[in-house]
């Protein structure tokens, strides 16, 4: 609990909607994203990728490519240091450095179509591409596995034959990279007391985060060994840490300058290009720029896992949930580390269960390594569990929101993943949905309404921020987290609030790795929450310095000085003229030098953010096409600092979830080649596919944040899939258990019933 809570104090900025500080740059084309950097004498880098899903690399011959005019450097797996197995946790998903290094550049074996095998730097992009064609790779093709079932069969080919567990101990060879179990009570016994038990299995396909900006970077290695990287990512410190580790460099040798980032959604919490660009720059002595094509983004960067999930819930006839058990198999891709742990944690989290258990398995297949995607692991789990809850409501003839209310997690309840809940806003969010006019608006034939809930954590993790007062009284804030969706605005608002000054007087910059303390990635819905907390703490520290300086000027005891409305005042003497920021700052040289503070810390304890979505669909019985015709999303934001950006997160998450439910999927042929590696065939929602998405913000303050903020970046993608599928069920009477519910699948199901 913060000692300096803002409860009761009138707020000037929090809750308003000012224009974001980086807005003008972004609407005029001046903002610089990952691919917008250039250096004199720069080379262009391209990556040679595996055409095979699984093969041993016998030999790579780069001689002909090196002879091509304009080619300056080539790296293959032999050129990168061998890295020992070691667990890293800088992103949202567990990463082993050895595996990360092998994913960045294959050693000995390729694990999926698109796996990087070599990288070339040349004077032009065209020459670099031509050089790729001259590299000869001798592959011994191995049998591959493409889904959970074949990967776990007894005689399955092994994706890795030398898998180690977290402690570096070699494991029994299998494609099950990790198994986890969590929960409490004895569900098996409790099921026998249930009046109803629903037990169903679900499948989902791999989907891509779909950020519009492809991965891009520019790296320059100097003759003194110093390295600078300009790139867009969800964390400049993550890029620095991973690149330094993979290339055997000191962290202090590497400076990462964060570009504006054109979307990440979790997919930019790891590295693909940066270590290659640095290695090429080291060899060529020139800066190297690398930009992925969209096809490379699809083939080689992280999709969210395909999954198979079985959920079993038992309840009394009055609707009380007695027990839940879930079995979750998530595809990791060719390297361990899917989001199955988070899926297992969140699957029963919205409800109070006396007996709950989940069993998760992380399974290797010959597909691109999965990566975090917004609330990693949770949307698939929610699809399964919320579909089952919908079944229960139907069987018990209880209103689906009443059923959820009856079993909703609330303060003091033991969560299925361990801790007891502090103050959470799930009940309030459900009630808001139930009372909303959308909930009982009339429907037409072929239309149906679905409701679904979901939760996601607010990670705290490590953050730093610096706050300084400039001579003219303006305030500079430096944050170490890339701003993906308007976090600069909320940080500026919190600082303006603390100082009691105009929002426009606060400048927020995202610092490079050499200019601000360490920050974990932008992810886990944590920036406004955790980095915001650091900005508040640093501002409070600066304010106490300002009071001290004013006390010196006045020659009074600092205890008599307090800060209000942007000024230092003497509490008990109104005759003394208050001193503002500018006045104190201009005189700083005489009172002790520049005024600034750095706050850093590990923000502990995870917060929770709950959402409830209402979705109306209309089904075309002729074509099987499903249109979302009305959508309302309710989200507990704790406190919305900038409501427009909170709404934006809700709307964006809902749209992604709708795409996931209705259309998006990775389609592989038998050889493991992705068949839809472009936006034409991997169909994400466009403006004409969607209605307005009404975002309703509920505010149940988070006790762990000075303004009560809850992170809202991720929870909104959790409920949409089951909301859409439950609506489809209401419209058609058909239970859908496999994603996506694309027109052919819907049509097939409709034909089967009629």
């Amino acid at each position: 609990m913060s000692e300096k809570s803002t409860e009761g104090r009138p707020l000037k900025w929090v809750g308003t909607r000012p224009v974001r500080p980086d807005g003008v740059e972004k609407v005029t084309g001046r903002a610089r994203y990952g691919a917008d950097f250039a250096r004199p004498d720069m080379l262009w880098g391209h990556v040679l990728r595996s055409p095979h899903a699984h093969a041993r690399i016998r030999r790579i011959d780069v001689r002909r490519a090196l002879e091509l005019d304009g080619v300056k450097a080539i790296v293959t797996g032999d050129d990168l240091p061998e890295i020992a197995s070691e667990q890293a946790f800088v992103g949202e998903e567990p990463t082993d450095y050895r595996m990360l290094s092998q994913n960045v550049l294959a050693r000995g074996k390729v694990g999926y179509v698109g796996h990087a095998v070599a990288a070339v730097a040349a004077t032009t992009s065209a020459v670099a591409e031509e050089a790729l064609r001259l590299i000869e790779v001798d592959y011994e093709i191995l049998p591959h596995v493409l889904d959970v079932l074949s990967a776990t069969a007894d005689d399955a080919p092994l994706v890795h034959d030398d898998l180690c567990d977290r402690k570096g101990v070699k494991k029994n060879p299998s494609n099950i990279a990790n198994e986890i179990e969590m929960g409490h009570g004895d569900p098996e016994a409790a099921f026998t007391n249930a009046d109803v038990v629903v037990d169903r299995s679900f499948t989902t396909q791999a989907v891509h985060q779909g950020y519009i900006e492809p991965h891009a970077c520019l790296a320059e290695a100097g003759p003194d060994g110093q390295v600078t990287i300009w790139c867009s990512s969800q964390g400049q410190f993550m890029v620095r840490g991973y690149t330094a580790k993979l290339l055997g460099l000191d962290l202090a040798q590497v400076r990462v300058v964060p570009a504006e980032i054109g979307g990440g959604f979790g997919g930019k919490t790891t590295v693909y290009l940066e270590p290659l660009a640095v290695a090429l720059s080291q060899r060529s002595g020139r800066p190297v720029k690398m930009v992925m094509s969209r096809e490379e983004v699809f083939r080689a960067t992280g999709p969210a896992s395909a999954t198979r999930i079985r959920v079993k819930i038992g309840a009394t006839k009055e609707g009380q949930f007695l027990a839940g058990e879930a079995w979750l198999d998530y595809e990791a891709g060719a390297f361990p580390g899917s989001s199955v742990a988070a899926g297992s944690m969140t699957i029963f989290a919205p409800y109070a269960f006396e007996h709950a258990r989940s069993h998760g398995r992380d399974i290797l297949v010959n597909k691109p390594k999965s990566a975090a995607y917004r609330a990693p692991g949770a949307p698939m789990a929610a699809f399964a569990v919320e579909s089952v809850v919908d079944d229960l409501a139907r069987q018990l003839e209880i209103d689906p929101i009443d059923l959820r209310l009856q079993n909703a997690a609330r303060e003091g309840v033991q969560s299925s993943f361990g801790p007891r809940y502090k103050r959470i806003g799930f009940v309030e969010t459900l009630q808001a949905a139930q009372e909303h006019p959308h909930y009982d608006a009339p429907l037409q034939p072929n239309q149906g309404r679905g409701v679904a809930a979901g939760m996601w954590f607010n990670a705290g993790l490590q953050s730093s921020a610096a706050v300084m007062v400039n001579a003219d009284g303006s305030v500079s804030v430096i944050s170490g987290n890339p701003d993906i969706g308007g976090s600069r605005a909320s940080l500026a608002m919190m600082a303006a609030e603390e100082f009691g000054i105009e929002y426009e007087k606060v400048g927020v910059r995202i610092g490079d790795t050499a200019s601000v303390g360490y920050n974990d990635v932008t992810g886990g819905s944590r920036v406004t929450l955790a980095t915001g907390k650091m900005v508040v703490e640093a501002s409070q520290e600066v304010i106490s310095q300002l009071c001290e300086r004013a006390a010196k000027v006045w020659d009074v005891d600092v205890k008599r000085v307090h800060w209000a409305d942007g000024k230092a005042k003497v509490l008990d003497d109104e005759a003394i003229e208050p001193l503002g920021l500018a006045e104190i700052a201009t005189g700083a040289a005489r009172t002790g030098g520049p005024i600034q503070a750095i706050a850093s810390g590990s923000v502990r304890g995870v917060g929770m953010s709950f959402g409830v979505h209402l979705c109306d669909v209309e089904v075309d019985p002729e074509t099987g096409k499903v249109d979302v015709i009305r959508y309302t999303a309710f989200q507990d934001a704790g406190r919305a600092i900038h409501p427009s950006y909170v709404e934006g997160q809700i709307q964006g998450g809902a749209a992604q979830g709708i795409g996931w439910a209705l259309n998006e999927e990775y389609v592989f042929d038998d050889s493991g080649r992705l068949e839809n590696s472009g936006f034409l065939d991997y169909r994400m929602p466009v403006a004409s596919d969607l209605p307005m998405i009404d975002a309703v913000i509920i505010e149940v303050p988070n006790p762990d944040h000075p303004y009560g903020v809850r992170g809202v970046g991720e929870a909104p993608i959790v409920p949409p899939i089951p909301a859409v599928v439950n609506a489809l069920r209401a419209a058609t009477g058909v239970c859908f258990s496999d994603l996506p519910v694309s027109p052919p699948r819907v049509l097939e199901a409709l034909d089967a019933v009629s």
Binding site: G29, R30, A38, G653, F679, A687, S688
Partner: protein
């Protein structure tokens, strides 16, 4: 092979450049002229991030050869504001928070400008269908559509 010399007008300025026959207009804008305001999301005509106006017509600059720009007038997002004065579309994109990451924004602004030039009073549905060639993964389009409608209303008001 020697490069081709092209003379064109970009954002109101006479520009000359040299390009390879196979280079797209987007490549030249971004990598030769260093006008990086126009973005590349796919290079295949599917995302609209690279939208520019060619003699007033909306095109994907990733699908057009730079050589075809000879003698034509090209307008990008970088020419939309007049000095410090933002175009009403830019203004409303800011006010309505119609951007999150902002990578799609240049394309949406240029496409919306083309829409309003030919239809100053579009319905929500017309806006949605016109902008269906532009992908945004962050916003769910809600605030983008609202910003375009608000800008259209303001621009009609200004003319009345």
């Amino acid at each position: 092979m020697s490069k081709r010399h092209v003379t064109t007008t970009i954002d109101g300025e006479g520009r000359e450049f040299l390009c390879e026959d196979w280079q797209t207009l987007l490549d030249v804008l971004r990598d030769v002229l260093m006008k990086t305001g126009t973005k590349e999301g796919c290079g295949t005509g599917d995302c609209g991030a690279c939208s520019v106006l060619l003699d007033g017509r909306l095109v994907c600059s990733c699908l057009m050869l730079a050589a075809e720009a000879e003698g034509r007038v090209i307008e990008t997002v970088e020419g939309m504001a007049e000095g410090d004065r933002l175009h009403p579309l830019q203004q409303h994109f800011l006010q309505e928070a119609a951007l999150q990451c902002g990578i799609c924004t240049p394309g949406f602004l240029v496409a919306a400008r083309a829409l309003l030039a030919q239809n100053p009073d579009p319905s929500e549905r017309e806006v949605r269908f016109w902008l269906a060639g532009n992908l945004c993964r962050c916003t769910g389009y809600d605030k983008i559509v609202r910003a375009v409608l608000a800008a259209a209303a303001e621009m009609r008001g200004a003319e009345a």
